[in-house]
């Protein structure tokens, strides 16, 4: 018979998640005057930033969906979660209307899905951390939600969010953002300036990296660079 100690299982799962996430490159998001912007280091052909609806963007770090598995053995990752998010949004639009799609409820549903898998001792945890950001008519009304690998969601109070694999990277990035912003605020900046700042923050000293940038403007258009 399959027996387990839930506490130990969760500790092991946490360890596994930490190990997998520690290799991932961070992602930063900011709510600017003209819309939302998400910047991360490019992972080649696999993308980490996607539009989910006409005003919600998804960005995540961690494992990509493992397509090598067969059928149900396939381990879900970033693409899988984005896929579910898009399907949830489309179904909601079909049943009600586009006005009724809100990031709060979407984050809640996705968070509970991940939590369900996280606490199930028989299942491999989904090693991802992602954010969902909703653009509204003013930067003050924009909303950013971060969902942890254990399915806990947090609403970000400030105008920017950092997703990093380790606590050290997180705090160093946050410090860098504060340095580069000085006495400015993201809400007052235009998109290009914000992208410049975020790129500078993400670039390690003396290195050059390629970026993946997602822009969700206030007129409901998504643009990828």
């Amino acid at each position: 018979m399959f027996s387990y100690n839930l506490r130990e299982v969760l500790i092991q799962k946490d360890e596994l998640i930490r190990e997998k996430l520690s290799k991932s490159r961070p992602i930063v998001a900011a709510s600017t005057r003209d819309g939302l912007v998400l910047v991360t280091e490019s992972a080649g052909t696999r993308k980490k930033i996607w539009p989910v609806s006409s005003k919600i963007v998804f960005g995540g770090i961690g494992e990509f969906t493992d397509f090598k598995g067969v059928g149900s053995v396939r381990i879900p990752g970033l693409e899988g979660i984005q896929d579910i998010a898009v399907k949830l949004v489309s179904t909601h639009v079909l049943q009600y209307s586009e006005e009724d799609v809100h990031v709060d409820s979407l984050a809640l549903v996705l968070g509970s899905l991940i939590r369900k898998i996280y606490i199930d001792p028989k299942r491999f945890p989904i090693c991802v951390k992602f954010l969902l950001a909703e653009v509204n008519s003013t930067p003050e009304q924009d909303k950013i939600f971060v969902v942890s690998p254990s399915g806990i969601l947090t609403q970000i109070e400030s105008s920017y969010a950092v997703l990093a694999g380790t606590d050290e990277t997180y705090s160093s990035l946050e410090q860098k953002i504060k340095q580069h912003l000085a006495d400015r605020r993201f809400e007052e900046l235009d998109i290009e300036t914000a992208i410049d700042i975020l790129k500078k923050v993400l670039t390690p000293e003396g290195q050059e990296i390629r970026f993946e940038v997602g822009i969700q403007s206030r007129d409901k258009k998504f643009q990828r660079r």
Binding site: Q95, Y96, E99, D100
Partner: protein, 233 residues
């Protein structure tokens, strides 16, 4: 929709009905309803007659305007039974949504729900049973056909007396109407239908949708009909 199964079950209970088996004179019909926009809101009005056919009146006290929530009103014409069920389903759907989701359902979402429920009711049309609602919020009026097709209008009358009411609205409606003028026009249009159409009764209920929904009862309506300009709306 959360109650899709229940709606399907309800429609299934009418299976096998056809125009031959259903006698038109045995089904209750609600008749004339109308809605019109004015400067700051919308007025919805309806008569209160319910009849089996042009020669047999069922009731003079059937109110065919219903509040769905704090900011929208639906008016129904056509067969009474599915109309009542449409309202019950819609209220339940909206209530479930508002209590379970993080945000309240938008008017657009509610209007889509009406379309979807009407589409489910479509098989009833083979027996001549149809519902024709008008759905209104503070700044929008939607008319529907019995299959659920939705169209936005500035004013609209539906039901057997709609021809007379629409003729009156066509010549008297404009965008700059005040609240009082709008109620007056709505009452006058329905009265014209009452005079010319045997299935339309006297207007007894009017709703004004602005910041909140205000009900105008028959007492106030008769004062407006008499030309009293000091009626508090």
């Amino acid at each position: 929709m959360k109650l899709e199964k229940e709606i399907q079950e309800y429609v299934r209970s009418f299976a096998g009905l056809s125009k031959q088996s259903v006698k038109e004179r045995d089904i209750l019909h609600g008749t004339t309803i109308l809605a019109l926009k004015y400067k700051n809101g919308v007025v919805v009005a309806g008569d209160c007659r319910m009849c089996f056919n042009p020669t047999l009146i069922g009731s003079e006290n059937f109110k065919k305007l219903f509040k769905i929530d704090e900011d929208s009103v639906i008016a129904v014409a056509g067969s009474v039974a599915p109309a009542m069920e449409l309202i019950r389903f819609l209220r339940a759907e909206v209530d479930i949504y508002n209590r379970t989701q993080t945000h309240r359902l938008s008017f657009e979402g509610k209007a889509n729900l009406v379309s979807r429920i009407l589409a489910k009711f479509a098989p009833l049309a083979s027996a001549g049973i149809v519902v024709l609602p008008i759905y209104a919020s503070r700044n929008k009026i939607y008319g529907y056909d019995y299959l659920g097709a939705r169209y936005e209008v500035k004013y609209l009358a539906v039901g057997s007396g709609s021809q007379q009411a629409l003729t009156y609205l066509d010549s008297n409606w404009n965008e700059e109407l005040s609240k009082f003028q709008a109620v007056k026009i709505a009452v006058a249009a329905l009265n014209l239908a009452y005079q010319r159409n045997p299935q339309t009764g006297k207007v007894k209920l009017v709703y004004i949708i602005e910041d909140e929904i205000v009900e105008i009862d028959s007492e106030k309506i008769s004062k407006i009909e008499e030309g009293d300009k000091n009626v508090q709306l």
